[in-house]
Each structure stands twice: as structure tokens, then as C-alpha cells.
Symmetry: C2
């Protein structure tokens, strides 16, 4: 089997130079880099990761746990993370929990067992087993999207974003406002967004019809179904606006309204959260909240790299947002 | 440090039972499983992967290399893969090359060095270094989306899908048809889709205006720009239809046409490929080709699992497709 010493000899460079090239770490002249890569390719040499880890105490890999790879939120966050860590010579391993809480725990263990240097979790819930698993892994760790006690967390300002959106709807003259949310096991999307909505409604002296509060599962179809249930529950007394906690569910809700011949926003106004690409291209374009996901990813990566130096930075960071007013309200 | 023997003792089961539970592999009674998991959680035990690999010769992990996690194609394929491998107790590690060919090679090496049992590559190009890297890795390997010589490949039928779409456009009476494609370093999307389009046009005795052939980079913005160039190149002599090789670029092209006050399909008809969720919700809804990506993922996973038994199944598989006629033509 080819060793790093063989590569060094064949490329006529030092062992350190080979290591620098392979780890993308430290200065190497362009010509030396080329020679090394040529030999590496010719021999098909694959550095032994465990040996490398033992020497450098770093594997050069960051694990990222996503709730669902198909969401744009996830891909923008990963884009932001990658921008930061790639510059430092790190690669990324992604895992997809498909919104299964159990898999968050499994994947933390898996990534740990693959010797990643740190983990960024796009968190969807908070529970003791998750917290214990994070503690046991004892790795640099960032939670993004939920506040996890004892873990450096970057959270979106769900409560105030929802308040701002609800204010805007009320300011446009709406008094009959429906709500499409998600389950309350998701503290950020399920609890905080609802709380922001409900409290703002109540402060304005309005009431929320019980049958106008529905829950989906993040999918477009569940938005469609929730909207259908709201409309069917109130023949002759429809809401004039619907606050939806995600863009995808809002798109589903819009689809149902359009099928029913209801005009958006003239008959029913609608809002989303997330600033998805689709929100811009549906018709009418969807009023939504931009959470700057890419910047959140960048911040997560920077905090993780900081932790790689010093493990004791446990803090909570609040990510900024902006309301994008479009044509659906 | 806690060992597997400690876990076995504390849970009052055999070492084999602990191993079965942790590897999700072989029969274990529900009560034994619960006891083991309770101890595993209480102790924070994380099995040593290298030791495990040495014993079972399997790491239980499949590597998947995606060109871009933000595409729906990718997420559907991963969904299909996961459905199959999860049943067999495998986990998935994803990597995202961000359409960087160099990273395909880097990630094959990375996944190999992390001891995955096999790799599924959503391929975007064919080059010798890639083929050499695959050969060197010497792992069960599936290419999806491009035919790689010597590698089990599942390919979409790009040529015939493009022919069918072009036929349909011509049958609707269009004679002046523009083309928005991608670079020819992508054999499937760049070469075969173009070939299907051009040959069908020529067989129908039509010609393609040179200035109506434009290339984007898969992004919505590049579709917008390409459409703009086509329209600006031909004042007073616009095409009546545009064949676009991806849905995302088609959505961008539609956006430009709408901004210009051109009606779709009355002034200019437009088609995409990919059956993205967005294609259904843009307005007008986009006529497109569905490649059954999830089924392709399922097939890739099944072929990979077969290879895990017997490494000598090198074949090419052609994936089916269907044309979805909507309102944009």
C-alpha cells in the first residue's frame, strides 16, 4: 500500500508538504502542489483518516444535521456554512433526519463515530435525550433554529417576526384572521410563531375563531388541507386574511383558494414566513419574512470554528429578519 | 471508558444482543432492546466505529454525493435512497459539491476515508480523473444521471424526453422555437437534451435561429438572462416557443416574459424539464417532464445493496419519464 512517505519521495517533496497539500493547510508552492496531486492521482493514494486524525487531532470535517434536505432553508444555511468552513480547509458531511426526532440523536452519534471535528444541528425540537446525546458527544456543537440549554444556539426571532407580520395584516384593516401553524413540539415554529400571532391579535382587541386555527406538517399539501378545513368550517363567514407559519404551507393554502375561485388578496389575504424562492414566483407573489438563512449559516460556522479553539463559548445569538411585502396582502 | 461489555452487563444481556441493537441488525426482543437503549443513553456510550467495522466489515453507512442540495431532484432522489437503505439498517452521509467537479473527486475520497460501505454519485460530468478516483476507491458505486464507463449507471432518458417535448411543441403549430440550455460539459443535460431538441427540429424541416440558442447555469436568474438576450436579439421577430432544459431556468424565463408584458402561452409558449414543485405552482403552470427521481433513487439504492453482495454487476439502466402537459404551451 502506498504511504505518505512514498508520495513524498515520488513527488520529490517533504512529507510535511504532502500533508499540507492533502489537508489544504499551510503554505505550499503551486508547483509542489501540482506534483503532489499528480502522484496522488497516479497512485490512487487515499490518506488514512484515523492515522491523520491521530497526528493532527483534527479530521477536517464538520457534520451538519438537517431536518429535511428538500427545504430551501436547509440549502441556504449549508451554503453559508460551506462558505466559511471551505476557506479553512474543512469539508462538510450532511445528514437528513427527515423531521424524525429520533434520527437527530442517531446522527449525532453517527457523526461523532465518524470523528467529525464539530456538529451544526438545524434543530427542530428540544428534549432531554437530545441534550444528553449532545453532552455525551462532547464536541464543538452549534444549534441553529432552536435554543438548546447549555449549547451555543443561533435562533431566529420567531416571536417578533410573527408580531410584525400580524401587525401589518391588522394595519391593512383585517379583523377576521385565520392561522395555519405546525405542532407545538417545535418550539420555534410551532410555539413562538403562534404566540407572536395570538398575542398581537389579542392586544388589538380581536378574537381568533377556534375553527380558524389549523395545523399542518410543513408540506404544501397540509397547507392546502388546512385552508380547506378553514373555508369549509365557516360557510358564509370566511376570514379575510390567513397567517401561515411557513411559505410552503402558504403556497398550498393559496392553491386551494385559487381552486375555489377566491381572489388573493381581494377575498382573502395570505402571508408566509421563510422567503422561499417559490414565494417570489407564485402568483400573486407572497408576502413573507426573510430570516437571512445564509447569514445564519455563516454565523453558525464562525461560532463553530471559534469553539474549535476554545470550547467554552456557550451563548445565545438572535438572528435578524425583515418583512418582505409583496402582492398577497 | 464504557465498553460494549459494560453495556451488556448493565443491561443484563449478552454482548451479541448489544451489538445487534446498536447495529440494528438481527432479532432482539423488545424488552432487551429497551434495556440496552436505556443503558446506552444513561452512559452516553458511543460504539467505536473502527472496531465495529473491523468486526462486521460493514460500517452501515452509505455515502451520497449531490451536485447541489437545494435542487428538488436531489432531495427526491435522497428520499428514494433512504426509503430502501433505512429498511436495511443503513444510514446516509450526504455531501454537496455545489456543482464543482473537483469536489466530486474530493468527496469520493472523503467518504472512502470515512469507511462508507458504498457511494451513490449524482453525476454531472464524465472525466478521467473522476473515473480513476472511483476505480481507486474500489467500493460499491452507483452513478445516477450520467453514464460512467465501467460503473453501474442509472440514466434518465434525456434524448427521448427532449424529442417528445419538442415534438409536442411542433405539433401545437410552433415553427419559431428558441432553446435555453446548459454547458456541454454536462453530457446528460447539456448534450443529450440539446441533441434531442435540435434533431427533432431539423427532422421537422425547421431551422433554429443562432441567436435563439442560449446557455444558463441551472439558476433561475440565468434563465431570466437567457430569455432577455433572446428577446433583445430579435426585436420584431420573436420566437413563439422556448424549449428550456430545466424547470428553474424556465421559471426565470417566464419571469422575464411576464415583466415584458408578453403573455404565456399566447405570445410565447415555454417548457421545462424536471417536474419541480414550483413548475406546478407558477402561473401559468409549466409543461414539463417528470423523470421519477424518487424511483431512480430507490433503484440506485437497490443496485448498491446488490453490489454489497456481489461487486460485479456493471450495467446501465434507463429510467422512465412522462410528459406533463400544463398551461404554458
Amino acid at each position: 500500500m502506498t504511504t505518505i512517505n512514498d508520495i513524498a519521495k515520488m513527488a520529490n517533496v517533504s512529507r510535511t508538504t504532502v500533508s499540507r497539500v492533502l489537508n489544504n493547510n499551510g503554505y505550499v508552492s503551486e508547483s509542489a502542489r501540482e506534483r503532489v496531486m499528480k502522484v496522488v492521482e497516479a497512485t490512487g493514494y487515499i490518506p488514512s483518516v484515523s492515522a491523520k486524525s491521530l497526528r493532527t487531532k483534527r479530521s477536517g470535517v464538520i457534520g451538519v444535521i438537517l431536518p429535511k434536505i428538500s427545504t430551501e432553508t436547509a440549502s441556504r444555511v449549508v451554503g453559508g456554512i460551506n462558505e466559511v468552513v471551505a476557506k479553512e480547509g474543512f469539508q462538510i458531511l450532511l445528514t437528513d433526519t427527515e423531521l424524525n426526532h429520533e434520527k437527530e440523536i442517531e446522527y449525532i452519534r453517527l457523526l461523532h463515530s465518524r470523528h467529525v471535528d464539530g456538529i451544526i444541528l438545524l434543530a427542530t425540537n428540544v428534549n432531554d435525550r437530545l441534550l444528553n446525546t449532545i453532552e455525551d458527544a462532547n464536541l464543538p456543537f452549534i444549534s441553529l433554529g432552536q435554543e438548546l440549554p447549555g449549547v451555543t444556539s443561533i435562533v431566529y426571532d420567531d416571536y417578533h417576526a410573527s408580531r410584525d407580520m400580524t401587525h401589518m395584516i391588522i394595519k391593512k384593516g383585517h379583523k377576521k384572521i385565520a392561522y395555519i401553524g405546525v405542532g407545538e413540539d417545535d418550539p420555534a415554529v410551532g410555539v413562538l410563531r403562534k404566540q407572536g400571532f395570538i398575542e398581537t391579535i389579542q392586544e388589538a382587541g380581536l378574537e381568533v375563531e377556534e375553527s380558524w386555527i389549523r395545523y399542518g406538517d410543513f408540506s404544501i399539501e397540509s397547507g392546502y388541507e388546512s385552508m380547506k378545513q378553514i373555508v369549509e368550517a365557516s360557510p358564509g363567514n370566511l376570514p379575510t386574511a390567513v397567517f401561515v407559519v411557513t411559505d410552503r404551507m402558504a403556497v398550498g393554502a393559496m392553491e386551494y383558494l385559487k381552486e375555489q375561485g377566491l381572489r388573493i388578496p381581494q377575498d382573502i389575504a395570505i402571508t408566509g414566513i421563510g422567503a422561499s424562492v417559490m414565494s417570489k414566483y407564485v402568483s400573486p407573489s407572497l408576502t413573507t419574512i426573510d430570516y437571512f438563512n445564509k447569514e445564519a449559516g455563516t454565523m453558525a460556522a464562525e461560532l463553530l470554528l471559534e469553539q474549535l479553539q476554545d470550547k467554552n463559548t456557550k451563548k445565545k445569538f438572535l438572528q435578524n429578519y425583515r418583512l418582505i411585502e409583496r402582492d398577497s396582502v
